[in-house]
Symmetry: none
Subunit: 199 residues, 4 copies
DNA sequence: AATGAATGAGACTTCATTCAT
DNA sequence: TATGAATGAAGTCTCATTCAT
C-alpha cells in the first residue's frame, strides 16, 4: 500500500509502521512460530538490526499487534454503547447493526483479526470480555420482555461469539459474503429460530 | 495389547502407543511448536532415537493424531447415520441426541479434539466435512416441512459448528457443563430462537 | 593432555571434562568475552550443540570453573589448618611452608588460578576470605609474642595477598621462580623487613 | 577550554572531553566489553555518529585513556625524581612521601587508575616500568647502607607494586583509608618487618 | 527394542560502525 | 557540529534428527 521502495533515510515511524503492517500479515498467514524476524524484515526491505531498533523482540511486536486489536475492540465496544442513534429501530435491527459494524471492522482488519481472535493467547480473554458485554445487553432485552424469560443469556452470548468467529473466518475474510448479509443471517437465525411456524 | 508381563522394555506397540498418548497430551496443552520431541520422550521415559523408531518425524506423529481424530469423526458420522434407534423421537430430540453424542466423544477425547478441531491445519477441512453433512440433514428436515423453507441451511450448519466449537472449548472440556446439557442448550436455541412468543 | 582424537562415541563424562579443561585454558588466555563457545568446541573437536549438552550456557561453564577454584581453595585452607606436622619448626618456617603449598597449587593449576584469582567477579570475595583467615593466624602469632604487638594484622594480610597475587602472575606462572623460592622471598621480606640492622 | 557560552552544541573539544570522561567512568565500572558505545553516548546526551567524530573506534578511546594514565604516571615519576625537597628527611619518610603521592594521584583519578592499573592489557607493562624504577631507587639505598645488602631489590619492588595495587583497590578507592595512612602502613611494614624485636 | 552421544541447520539478538543529511 | 536511520558481522542458543552400539 505504501509507496514501494522507500527512500534510504525514511522516517523512523514509517519503517516502524511498515514492519508492523508486514508482521501482521505474516503472523496472520503463518502463525507466530512460522513467522521469522528474517522474513518480516526481508519483506520490508530492511535488515534484522533495524527490526530491533523498533521492537524489543519478536514477542514484543506480536504483543503490540494483540494490543492494537484489543484496543480497537474496546473502542468498538464503547462506540456500540454510545449509539442509541437507532432509537426507533427495532431491537432486531439494532442487533444486526451492531454485529454488522463488528464484521465491518473485522473485514477492514483481517490480519489483526486473525491475530487477536485466533492466534493470540489472549484471544480467549478478549472473547470472554465480548461475551460478557453481549450478555449484559441481552439481559436488558429479556427484562424488556423482548426475549423469552427462560433464555440462558450467557450461553446465547457464547453461541453468538462462536458463530461470529466461524463466519468471520469462513465467509467474511474470504470475502464470500458481506458484513450486512452475514449479520442478518446470524441475527435472524438466533432470534427467529429454525422452526416452521406457518399454519 | 496383551499384557504378557514382559520383564523389561515393553513391547514395541506399547511404547508406540505411549508416545502417541503423551504426544496428544503435550500437543493439546502446548501447541505444535512448543511441544518438543525431547519432552515427549522424557515424559515417556524413553530416548529420542526410540521416538524415531516409531515415527518418521515430529510432523508424522502429529499427522497421525490428526488422522486418528478424523477417522474417529468418520466412525462417528457413520454411527449417527446408522442409528435410527430413535425413530419415534421428534426431530428436535434426534438432533439433540446427535449433538450430545458428538460432545460425548469430544469430552472423552479432549486432547485429540483440541488437536483435530483447533491445532490441525486440516481442522478447516474436517469442519467443512461436518458442515456438509449437517447441511444435508437439515435440507431433509426442511423438505419434510419441519423447518422453515427460507432457511439458509448452509449457514445454519456453519453456525452450528461454530457454536459447538466454542462451547466445546469453553464449557465442555473445562467440564463446566455436561454434553446433554450443552446439546439441549444449543439445539433449543437454534430451533426455537430467542423471541418471546407469548402474548 | 588426553589422547588426541577421541573416538566418536566417547563417554559423555570425557567430553564434558575435555570441554571444561579447554574452556579453562581459553578463559585464562583470552578472558571471558573473548572466549567464544565456538572456539572452545572447535578446540575440543566437538560441535556447538554438544557444548549445551553439558553446560547450560557459557556463563555456567565459567561459574563451574570459578567454583572449582573456590572449592580447591577451601580444601587447601582446611589442609593448612590440619597440618601441625611441622610442630617443631619455627613460625617462619611454617608460614613459608603454607605459602609454598599455596603457590604449588597455583602452579599446578595455572588456568584455574587465573580464572579464580583474576577473571572471576567473585575473585574479590575469595581473596577476602583468604585475608580473613591469614589475619586470624597472624593474630595468634602476635598474641604468642612472635610478632610485634602494634602490627595491623588486617593490613599485613591484605599485603600478603597482594604480594602473592603479583608474584604468582609475574614470577610463578611464567615459571621464572619456584614456589619454594618465592615463598621464602615473601616471608623473609615481610618478617625481617628491609632494614640493615648490622653495626 | 574557554567557556564562551556557545548557545548550542558546545565546542567540539567539550564534547570530546565529555565523552572521554564518561567513557572512563563506564569502563572503570563495567569493564571494556560491558561498556557499550551506545551507553557512553547516551550518558553524554550525544549520538553515536558523534562518537566516531572524535574517536576512531571503541578501542581508540580506551587506548587514549590507557595512555592518559601512562602519561600521568610518567609525569608523576618525573616529579618524584625532581623533588629533593625533603632532603633532610629520613629515607623512610621520603619513601612514605612518594608512595603517598602516588596514592593521592590514584585517589584523585579512580577511573583512570582502574583502567590503567587493572583493565588495560598494558597494565603489566606500566607496572613493570614502575617496578624498574623502584628497584633503581632501592639499589641506591642499599648501596648507601640503609637497607641490608642481601635484599633482593627486584622482588621487593614487585612486592611493593603488588601491595599498592591491592590496597589501592581494597582500601583507597573505596575510601576506607587515606593515602597518608596507607603509605605509612606499607612502608612501615616493609621496612621494619613484622618481628617483635623487644627483648 | 533401545539408547548415549552427537550434530546440521537455523533462529534470535547484539553491537560497533557507517550513510546521508 | 551533529544526528536519524540503518546495517554487516558475529555470537549464543535450540531443536529435530542421526550415528554407532
Amino acid at each position: 500500500m505504501g509507496e514501494r521502495g522507500r527512500p534510504k533515510g525514511a522516517s523512523g515511524e514509517e519503517s516502524r509502521a511498515l514492519l508492523l503492517e508486514i508482521a501482521a500479515k505474516e503472523f496472520a498467514q503463518n502463525g507466530y512460530h512460522d513467522t521469522k524476524v528474517s522474513s518480516i524484515v526481508k519483506a520490508a526491505s530492511l535488515s534484522q538490526p533495524t527490526f530491533y531498533l523498533y521492537f524489543k523482540n519478536k514477542d514484543a511486536i506480536f504483543e503490540e499487534l494483540e494490543n492494537l486489536f484489543r484496543l480497537r475492540m474496546i473502542d468498538f465496544a464503547k462506540k456500540s454503547r454510545l449509539q442509541p442513534a437507532l432509537e426507533q429501530a427495532t431491537v432486531k435491527e439494532r442487533i444486526i447493526y451492531n454485529v454488522k459494524e463488528l464484521l465491518v471492522f473485522f473485514s477492514k482488519n483481517p490480519n489483526l483479526t486473525r491475530i487477536g481472535f485466533y492466534l493470540s493467547t489472549k484471544a480467549d480473554e478478549i472473547k470472554a470480555q465480548m461475551v460478557k458485554q453481549i450478555k449484559e445487553n441481552l439481559d436488558f432485552e429479556v427484562d424488556a420482555g423482548y426475549f423469552r424469560k427462560n433464555l440462558d443469556t450467557q450461553t446465547v452470548a457464547e453461541c453468538l461469539i462462536g458463530i461470529i468467529e466461524r463466519l468471520t473466518f469462513i465467509q467474511l475474510l474470504p470475502q464470500k459474503k458481506q458484513p450486512q448479509e452475514i449479520a442478518t443471517d446470524i441475527v435472524d437465525l438466533l432470534i427467529e429460530g429454525m422452526l416452521n411456524r406457518e399454519k
